[in-house]
C-alpha cells in the first residue's frame, strides 16, 4: 500500500491504531445497516418465492424456448463465478508477487470470492429443475452401479467449482485467524466467545507463525493455478461444443480475463461504500482505487481485444455459420444486448487512460456498475444469442426471460449482498495483520535517534 509505506512516520498509523480502527468497524450496526439488510433479505425472499414457484410448476415457467435451453440461469452462473476470480487474484496472486497495496483490500475481495461462488453454485441446481436430484452430479455408489461421465465438461465444472469454493473458503478462514485473535482481545460478551472459538487459540507465538506463514504461502501457491483453471473449465462448457460462437480456442484466456475484469469491478463497487460507512479512508485510499483502475484497464483491454479477435476469426475462418452467428450478434434481434456489452466492456474502460478518472472515486464507482452490467450481458450474449442462431433456420428461435428468472437473478444479488453485510459487521473486512505487516515495527535505534 503506497501511502502507508511512504507516509511520514508521524502520520503513519501505529499498530495500536490499526487494531483500534479496524475493530471499530465491528461496533454496533447503524440503522442504515439494518435498513440495507432488511432490503436485501426482502429481495432474497422474492427470489426464493420465484424458485419455489418453479419447483412447484416445473422448468416450463422459465422462458426456455427451443433451441435456447440455457438462459439467464447459466449466464448468471458464469457471471458469479467470474466475480469470484478477482478476489483470488488480489488475495493469492498479488500475495505471491509481494504487492504491498493489496493488504487493505484483499480481505473484502476474498470474502467476495467466497460469497460469489456460493451464489454461482446455486444456479446449476436451479437450472437442472429438480433440485432434489442435484447430488446426481457427483460420483457416488448407487444401486444401478452407474458412474458420472468424466468426459463431459459439465462434470469438470462440478469438480472445478466445488474445489474452488472449498479452497477459497479455507484461504479466507486461515487469513482471518490472527485477526480474530486481535479482535478477541478487544471484544466483550457473546462476540468475545465467538472470536475465542474462531481464533483457534491463536497467540502469535514463534512456532505458530513458523507454520502459519508456510501454510499460507502454499495455500496461495495452490489457489493461483486454481483460479486460472476454474474459469477455463467454465469456458470449456461452451468451447467443447460445436455451437457457432462457442467453439473457439480463445475461450479460456478470454473468460479468465473477463472474470478478473468483472471481479475487480465488483471489488470497487463494494469498497466505495464500505470505506465510507466504516470510516476506513485512512487504509483504503485513492491509491488503491488507482491500482484497481489499472487492473480494470488491463483486463478491459484484453477483453476488448478478445471481442475483436472473435469477430476477426469468424470472418477469417471462412465458415458461413460462424460469420452468420457473429453478424446476428451485432445486427440481429439481440443487437441491443451485444452493443450494451461492447459499450460497457470495450469502450467505457478506455476512460481509465485518464489519471483524473482513475483517481476519482465517484467516477470509479459509476464505471464499476457499468462494467458489472456489461459483463452480465457478455454472458447473456455468448450463451443465449449463440444458441438462438445455430445451423438450421428451422432450429432458430427467440428466448425472452420470464419474471421467474428475473426474480431469481435479483434474489441472487440479494443473497450475495446479505452474506457480505453479515460478514462485514462480524469479521474484519480490512486485514489487521497484513496492514500492520507493511508498517515497519518501531525500532530502538530510530527512537533514540
Amino acid at each position: 500500500m503506497t501511502t502507508l509505506v511512504q507516509e511520514d512516520q508521524l502520520t503513519r498509523p501505529t499498530y495500536h491504531e490499526v487494531t483500534r480502527d479496524i475493530v471499530a468497524t465491528l461496533g454496533r450496526p447503524s440503522r442504515m445497516y439494518y435498513v440495507l439488510l432488511g432490503l436485501v433479505i426482502t429481495v432474497f425472499a422474492i427470489g426464493v418465492v420465484a424458485l419455489l414457484f418453479q419447483v412447484r410448476y416445473g422448468l416450463g415457467v422459465a422462458g426456455y424456448t427451443p433451441p435456447v435451453m440455457w438462459g439467464v440461469y447459466i449466464a448468471t452462473f458464469v457471471f458469479w463465478v467470474g466475480i469470484a476470480h478477482s478476489g483470488t487474484l488480489i488475495s493469492a496472486i498479488l500475495y505471491l508477487f509481494r504487492s504491498a497495496w493489496r493488504t487493505s483490500v484483499y480481505r473484502t475481495a476474498e470474502a467476495m470470492t467466497v460469497f460469489a461462488v456460493m451464489t454461482a453454485g446455486l444456479f446449476p441446481l436451479i437450472h437442472v429443475g429438480r433440485i432434489w436430484y442435484a447430488y446426481w452430479l457427483f460420483p457416488y455408489p448407487n444401486q444401478r452401479q452407474l458412474w458420472v461421465n468424466f468426459k463431459s465438461p459439465l462434470l469438470w465444472d462440478v469438480f472445478a467449482v466445488s474445489t474452488y469454493f472449498t479452497v477459497s473458503t479455507l484461504f479466507l478462514i486461515v487469513g482471518l485467524i490472527p485477526d480474530l485473535a486481535a479482535v478477541r482481545e478487544k471484544a466483550t460478551g457473546w462476540r468475545k466467545k465467538l472470536y475465542e472459538i474462531t481464533s483457534l487459540g491463536w497467540r502469535g507465538t514463534d512456532q505458530q507463525w513458523r507454520h502459519y506463514t508456510r501454510g499460507y504461502l502454499y495455500l496461495a501457491a495452490l489457489a493461483t493455478p486454481l483460479v486460472l483453471s476454474v474459469h477455463s473449465v467454465v469456458s470449456w462448457d461452451f468451447a467443447m461444443s460445436i455451437v457457432p460462437g462457442w467453439h473457439a480456442t480463445i475461450f479460456a484466456p478470454y473468460f479468465v480475463a473477463g472474470a478478473i475484469y468483472s471481479g475487480v469491478a465488483m471489488v470497487v463497487t463494494l469498497l466505495v461504500p464500505l470505506r465510507k460507512v466504516f470510516k476506513v479512508e485512512r487504509y483504503i485510499t485513492v491509491e488503491h482505487f488507482e491500482n484497481l483502475a489499472k487492473l480494470l484497464l488491463l483486463t478491459g483491454l484484453i477483453v476488448g481485444y478478445a471481442y475483436a479477435i472473435e469477430y476477426f476469426i469468424a470472418w477469417y475462418s471462412g465458415s458461413p455459420y460462424e460469420r452468420a452467428s457473429f453478424w446476428n450478434r451485432a445486427f440481429g434481434e439481440y443487437w441491443w444486448a451485444t452493443w450494451t456489452m461492447i459499450t460497457c466492456n470495450g469502450f467505457l474502460p478506455l476512460l481509465l487512460f485518464s489519471r483524473k478518472i482513475r483517481r476519482s472515486i465517484p467516477a470509479m464507482f459509476v464505471l464499476s456498475l457499468f462494467v458489472n452490467l456489461g459483463m452480465w450481458f457478455e454472458r447473456f450474449v455468448i450463451i443465449v444469442v449463440s444458441l438462438s442462431f445455430e445451423y438450421e433456420p428451422y432450429a432458430m428461435g427467440h428466448y425472452t426471460p420470464s419474471w421467474v428468472e428475473w426474480a431469481i437473478l435479483a434474489g441472487s444479488f440479494a443473497w450475495f449482498f446479505m452474506w457480505f453485510l453479515l460478514f462485514a459487521k462480524n469479521f474484519p473486512t480490512v486485514s489487521i495483520t497484513e496492514v500492520k505487516e507493511i508498517i515497519p515495527m518501531p525500532r530502538k535505534e530510530r527512537a533514540h535517534a
Partner: protein, 168 residues
C-alpha cells in the same frame, strides 16, 4: 517448555530490542523460550532461527495423493461401467487431467490445513500470555527455575524491555 512452568515474561515495543534479547538468550544457552509477535517479522524469525516448517511436506503429499486419486477415480469408474461416449476410448486420460488437476489442488490445500493444525498443536507453547501481543507488543517468555530468574530478568531489562515480570 512444560505447561505451567514459571519464568520471566518481558514485553517489548521495539523489534530490534526484542531481537537482541533473543540473540542474547540463545548465546546464554536458552532454547525453550516463546516469542509472541502481532505480525510475522523477518528480524525476529532470523534471531529465533527455526528450521523451515514441515507443513510443505503435507502440501506435497496431499497434492500427489490428489493427483493419483483423480486419475484412479476416473479410470476405475470408466472401466467399471464401460460406456462409449462420442467414440472416445473408455479410459480417456486427457479429459481426466482436469479432474486430476482439481483434486491435486483440493487434496493439497486440505493436507496443508491438516499439516498446519497438526504441527501447531505439536509445537504448542503454553506459557503466560498478554493480550497486547496480538496488538502492538512483542513478548518473550523464558521458563526458568527461581535461582536463574535474576540473571534472565537483568538480561531482558538490559536489552530494552518495556516491562519485565515474574510469572509463577
Amino acid at each position: 517448555m512444560s505447561a505451567g512452568a514459571g519464568g520471566i515474561l518481558a514485553s517489548y515495543v521495539h523489534v530490534d530490542a526484542a531481537a537482541d534479547a533473543i540473540r542474547a538468550l540463545k548465546a546464554k544457552g536458552y532454547r525453550d523460550f516463546t516469542v509472541y509477535t502481532p505480525v510475522p517479522n523477518v528480524e525476529i524469525a532470523q534471531a529465533v532461527r527455526h528450521r523451515v516448517s514441515p507443513v510443505r511436506l503435507w502440501t506435497l503429499l496431499g497434492g500427489l495423493t490428489g493427483c493419483a486419486a483423480g486419475f484412479a477415480l476416473t479410470l476405475w469408474m470408466s472401466y467399471d461401467w464401460p460406456l462409449v461416449v462420442g467414440g472416445r476410448p473408455i479410459g480417456s486420460v486427457i479429459p481426466y487431467v482436469v479432474i486430476a488437476f482439481e483434486l491435486t489442488i483440493l487434496f493439497g490445500a486440505g493436507a496443508t490445513i491438516l499439516g498446519l493444525l497438526f504441527h501447531s498443536w505439536r509445537t504448542k507453547q503454553t506459557g503466560p500470555y498478554d493480550g497486547r501481543f496480538t496488538d502492538d507488543h512483542i513478548g518473550i517468555f523464558v521458563p526458568c527455575p527461581v535461582e536463574r530468574r535474576p540473571d534472565v530478568e537483568e538480561l531482558l531489562q538490559a536489552s530494552g524491555a518495556e516491562e519485565v515480570r515474574v510469572e509463577t
